[in-house]
Symmetry: C2
Subunit: 381 residues, 2 copies
């Protein structure tokens, strides 16, 4: 059946599970006695083990970065645009690894899996992970796979933050680092948006203090609202105007018409929120937004981004998207300038687009061509 997939698709893919029986200690001191990570791989690890690329996912992403889970699966992985034979991350010569982050909800140990000590869902008891925790956890997975160095670590948004943290925490592991639509840390406005999302979840009566799975409830209203807020911040104002304008879905403005007025954009946001609320775990959303808020690349260096990045040894690609107002181009320029000040190799590009923060996930000829050309330097030549 594989012939029905596009020629440049990795085709049918299957998730795998890695089990870790040694305790994992989080940055905040919490300890997980044992845990599992779910991951996917695409392409073949070379004999020299010098062609492995790690993809780090963002807030609502997962280990399913490319390909399809069944012949009937109409929706490929979240970065299928970039991963596949002949694509920017060319699986004919690169071995691609993407895992579901620890504490997430797509199969890795997280709030919606069972605490082996109690056989109950972790729920609100799962430890708060930080970006540094994910990097250490991904390193354990790499070692499990027999990898001791990444040809590249890559990601967008929160995924780009992990890539940057990798380059600082384990410099001798990272040949190339790609951080798209990222930032060295969140602004007060960024944190405020995340706080509103969390507040929507935590103030939902069905939140049950995070133990909704055990209680048989679901804070679906809160999660839907949280997603609506998040989704809105991923889109640009111009992109929304082009797509929705002031069009009504139903009803009219005419006098005498008392039907409910619903704008297209309202209908779209409600649909996005409702769909997400049935698919994504509320505790995970809280943990992920907290991890974003707590991320601070320069925290260990007294606030000096230059000092932090000076430890890295990677060749960097930093890209921003012109209409991204969540992590605007200026935030990527901060990273670029700190890398230049630290004497590191860096390519920086700002992609002109109306796609907003979602720019790194969506088709754009310049973005795709740039990534493809830059990636030719990654891996064995």
């Amino acid at each position: 059946m594989a012939e029905q997939f596009p020629q440049d698709s990795v085709g049918l893919v299957t998730a795998q599970v890695a089990r870790f029986d040694e305790p994992f200690t989080f940055e905040n001191g919490a300890v997980l006695p044992r845990h599992e990570l779910v991951y996917e791989t695409y392409g073949e690890l070379s004999q020299a083990r010098d062609n492995a690329v790690l993809i780090c996912h963002a807030l609502s992403g997962s280990h399913h970065a490319a390909g399809f889970h069944s012949p009937e699966d109409g929706r490929p992985g979240w970065w299928d645009l970039a991963i596949g034979p002949g694509k920017a991350i060319d699986t004919r010569r690169l071995f691609v690894v993407c895992s579901n982050n620890l504490g997430c909800c797509d199969g890795s140990s997280g709030p919606n899996t069972s605490n082996p000590d109690t056989d109950m869902p972790w729920g609100g008891q799962f430890p708060q992970p930080q970006v540094k925790d994910w990097v250490r956890s991904q390193k354990q997975l790499a070692e499990h796979l027999g990898i001791s160095r990444w040809a590249a670590v890559m990601g967008g948004s929160l995924g780009g933050m992990q890539a940057l943290q990798w380059a600082i925490d384990f410099p001798d592991w990272v040949d190339h680092c790609v951080a798209l639509a990222a930032a060295p840390g969140l602004t007060a406005q960024n944190i405020a948006f995340n706080e509103i999302a969390r507040h929507a979840i935590l103030s939902d009566p069905d939140w049950s203090n995070g133990n909704y799975l055990a209680q048989g409830t679901l804070p679906a209203r809160g999660v839907a609202l949280a997603r609506m807020v998040g989704h809105l911040t991923y889109m640009s104002a111009d992109g929304m105007s082009d797509r929705f304008g002031r069009e009504l879905r139903e009803g009219s403005f005419s006098p005498g018409d008392n039907s409910e007025w619903v704008f297209q954009v309202e209908s779209y946001l409600r649909h996005q929120g409702t769909r997400f609320s049935t698919q994504f775990d509320a505790n995970t959303y809280v943990l992920m937004t907290r991890a974003l808020d707590l991320f601070d690349l320069s925290a260990g260096d007294g606030g000096s981004l230059v000092n932090a990045l000076s430890r890295s040894e990677a060749d960097f690609l930093i890209a921003s998207f012109s209409s991204d107002w969540r992590f605007p181009p200026q935030r990527s320029i901060e990273i670029r300038d700190a890398l230049l000040a630290a004497g590191k190799r860096v390519t920086y590009a700002n992609i002109e687009t109306d796609n907003g923060h979602d720019g790194f996930l969506l088709p754009n000829p310049t973005y795709e061509a740039l990534l493809k050309q830059w990636m030719q330097r990654v891996g064995p030549l």
Copy 2:
């Protein structure tokens, strides 16, 4: 006791009530058999009745635009900055009128007042007002007060939209029109933010289909969230960074510290939301945001802002605030350019500030000086 108020304050003020016993027909065809408007006035109406200025309030404003309600009242009206003896809107020579809009919750007939036919709170049954309705209702109040022409109609944000609508709907009533931080209509992104606010309220289980007063519940969680979203859009990203940065209110990032991390900005937003939820009516918030979404200055002219404004006869002041991303300067420039194309008199200024959309409410020497100088042309000389 009045001597304890600042010399340039209007001092102690008392709200008045105007009763209208004839039916009021809304733009959408709904009819209110009778209604009341609460209002305040400052200064004295001249014998020639040529010095009256109408102030229109924004989403969460009220008729209480200036002065104090008691000697102990520590908080003056919402535009006290601009209204008073010697201030921009100089009450030594101007007679200032500000009413609580029909459908609002500070005393005028609205969802939290009783339906005289049922003696129950209107709740979700109160008609949806639009900006054009408010303008007609304010005209009735003017006639009630013996006024047949405004020296100026003024407002910021939704208040500025009312001022613009006045200039179009009743050109021979409006000598001067001041619209600050306004827009000729909302963008899809603007509507989306309002939709999220409404969704927060409508998905609160205590919303009770809008009849929470009759049910003895209050959708306080939903209103708090709605306000948090709104408040966030009133502040600029830079302003928030300067004020809150990434400062923690309590707890720390250090490993081993499992106390809840709370950023200052989170604590601030929660406080704002909670306070508002005890003061503002949920139905009113829904009606006001809907009125914003439905506002379209050019709707009656097939989308031509120039045609719409060509009917006006006023002298205009249009001002924007540089860091306002809710109604950014570009939206004011659209109004300015349409006025110029229609051959109207217009002064436009963009005020440099970090105060965001709240700029029209907050102290700023340039803004205050500009408003004061421009207002010298208003009223009898």
